[in-house]
Amino acid sequence: MVPASHYLSLAAVLFAIGLAGVVTKRNALIVFMCIELMLNAANFTFLAFARMKPDLSGHAIAFFVIAVAAAEAAVGLAIVIAVFRSRGTVNVDEVTAIKDS
């Protein structure tokens, strides 16, 4: 039997990797991938708790998280394409249109 803390620790490691990627990466696409990684880590935690209780509500929440992640990916990638079209870059440091200069 694998104890619940193993699953939760693994999810914590994945979330930390995702956060480090979001903060350090400059390519907007890789930043998005790291956000997906963080969403998955949260999903993993939900499922681990669902197994711990045991309560199937965690599975329903995981289902909703997947749906929201799909919507987020579609809109986010559309924004990346629009930004690339107008500025010719996907570097998150160079997109400073509403920065107070």
Partner: protein
């Protein structure tokens, strides 16, 4: 010995998962990052099966590794970034702070997990996590959020088309 078998499945998948996640972080080329992420999603799906979440494991492969990652790959191909654009990395100071933040968060989370103690998993019946059982919860207890999800997806579709279109 079902207990031993579970541990023998868990550790290889966990190590592979962390390796693939690290690959996303280390990759310079977004295509390699995307392929690494697909591998991570497959390992995660295996761990979901270990948590007796069969439906979510199936959805993980179908929606994440299938649909969302194909969308990512399409966008990567569409943008066709040049090599010098890919090579640049953020300032070293930023990277150091990012790594520091990640490690700090990891320490806090692991501390919280450790403080909660080692809880074993209770045995569950064979219906747990199957399509029928999850659908029962979804359509009785969470019917309104489920219907709201369809509106959300519709809004996302329309929004994505409006944003990505050249001229409306």
């Amino acid at each position: 010995m079902p207990d031993k078998a579970e541990i023998f499945v868990f550790w290889p998948l966990a190590v592979l998962l962390v390796g693939f996640a690290g690959g996303v972080l280390a990759a310079r080329n977004p295509v390699y990052a995307a392929m690494s992420l697909v591998g991570a999603f497959f390992c995660m799906s295996g761990l979901y099966v270990l948590l007796t979440a069969h439906l979510v494991a199936f959805l993980q492969i179908l929606v994440y590794a299938g649909a969302i990652m194909v969308l990512f790959l399409f966008v990567i191909m569409l943008l066709s970034l040049s090599d010098e654009e890919l090579g640049v990395s953020r300032m070293k100071a930023m990277q150091a702070f990012g790594a520091l933040g990640g490690i700090g968060l990891l320490a806090v989370l692991l501390g919280a997990v450790h403080a909660s103690g080692d809880q074993g998993m209770p045995p569950v019946d064979a219906r747990f996590g199957t399509v029928k059982a999850v659908a029962d919860v979804l359509f009785r207890q969470y019917l309104l959020p489920f219907e709201a999800t369809s509106v959300l997806l519709l809004v996302a579709i329309v929004g994505a088309v409006m944003v990505a279109k050249q001229r409306v």
